[in-house]
């Protein structure tokens, strides 16, 4: 369950332009590295949170959204926010597992764009959630580019914390919104409970 809920990005290649190993992540995935590598994704209304440890240089990025179906209150947060909580926790836990320290973590967030007028709130909700989550966890947000009506291509270099972001004002095809819509559908259908085992 945990794996299908938030998967580790598997798509790693040597990017000839920057001459660095690069992991590309898709909606619902995350990647963490301690190496001198890049992580890249393209977000529409989803959020890409880039988190890194300023001391050890270990860091990672996720690509997530809150599902549109709600219901079931949980600490004043609806079920949707729980997905977000877990998407963030999978990323942060992996950073800690590889040697990061929570008190050293800083964040940069991107995305939450309005891809279609009818979806005005989706991107905003995702961005508001990300800000609130990071505030609760006391992880400072050093930079953000959220909202507006465009998609973004985000390159993250966890070692330095540097992010290069490209605004995609005109999309050559519908790949980004389509992938995110498919991911949204999967999320809405996914029961939000993990396995329980009593020893």
């Amino acid at each position: 369950m945990g794996d299908s809920f938030s998967r580790k990005g598997q798509n790693r290649y040597l990017d000839p332009y920057v001459n660095r190993w690069t992991t590309k992540i898709l909606p619902g995935e995350y990647a963490v590295t301690a190496e001198d590598e890049l992580i890249v994704t393209a977000v529409g209304s989803c959020i890409a949170a880039c988190i890194h440890d300023t001391v050890t240089g270990i860091g990672g990025m996720n690509h997530f959204m809150l599902p549109s179906s709600t219901g079931g209150d949980w600490a004043g947060q609806n079920a949707a926010a729980r997905y977000g909580n877990f998407a963030m926790e999978f990323l942060i836990n992996e950073i800690l597992k590889q040697g990061g320290k929570k008190t050293n973590l800083v964040a940069k967030i991107f995305g939450g764009g309005t891809m279609m007028p009818a979806q005005l709130q989706i991107g905003e909700m995702n961005a508001a959630f990300a800000r609130e989550y990071l505030q609760t966890e006391k992880i400072p947000i050093l930079a953000e580019d959220v909202g507006q009506g465009y998609s973004r291509k985000v390159y993250f270099h966890p070692k330095s914390g540097a992010v290069t972001m490209k605004k995609l004002m005109v999309l050559a095809n519908d790949t980004i919104p389509r992938r995110e819509a498919d991911y949204g559908k999967v999320l809405s259908d996914m029961p939000l409970d993990g396995e329980v085992e009593l020893f």
Binding site: M1, E89, L96, E137, G194, F199
Partner: protein, 123 residues
């Protein structure tokens, strides 16, 4: 008198969610944000009916916390549930060997959490 549950998690968001759910169900909740603080709270509060702990935490992780708790006479038989993003079988076995009572993989829902708790500490 309501039963006291100790919840140990380094994520403030998760502690918020867990505490809210447990309090609504009538439990008394004490919190700690890592294993070593959890151990201190356990020692000072004493009468704890159940411990709910995360695995990956700074200072002292969940497995070390369980091993330490099991050495205290008051916690020899107290149910301890792991609440973690880890679903790996070897990690689970480590948990079992350390003395965990059960393993809950995140994400989880409130009803499910309460059901499991009622099973290990019947009212």
């Amino acid at each position: 008198m309501s039963k006291t549950i100790l919840t140990v998690d380094d994520s403030a968001s998760i502690r918020q969610m867990v505490t809210f759910t447990l309090k609504q169900a009538g439990y008394t909740v004490v919190e700690a944000d890592d294993g070593s603080k959890g151990l201190e709270v356990a020692k000072s509060v004493g009468d704890i009916a159940l411990v709910l702990t995360d695995l990956n935490m700074p200072n002292m992780n969940g497995l070390e916390l369980i091993r330490n708790l099991r050495q205290l006479p008051a916690f020899k038989f107290t149910p301890i549930l792991m609440l973690t993003t880890e679903s790996d079988e070897t990690k689970k076995m480590e948990g079992k060997q350390a003395g965990a009572t059960g393993w809950i993989v995140k994400p989880f829902n409130p009803e499910q959490l309460l059901k499991v708790i009622e099973k290990v500490i019947p009212a």
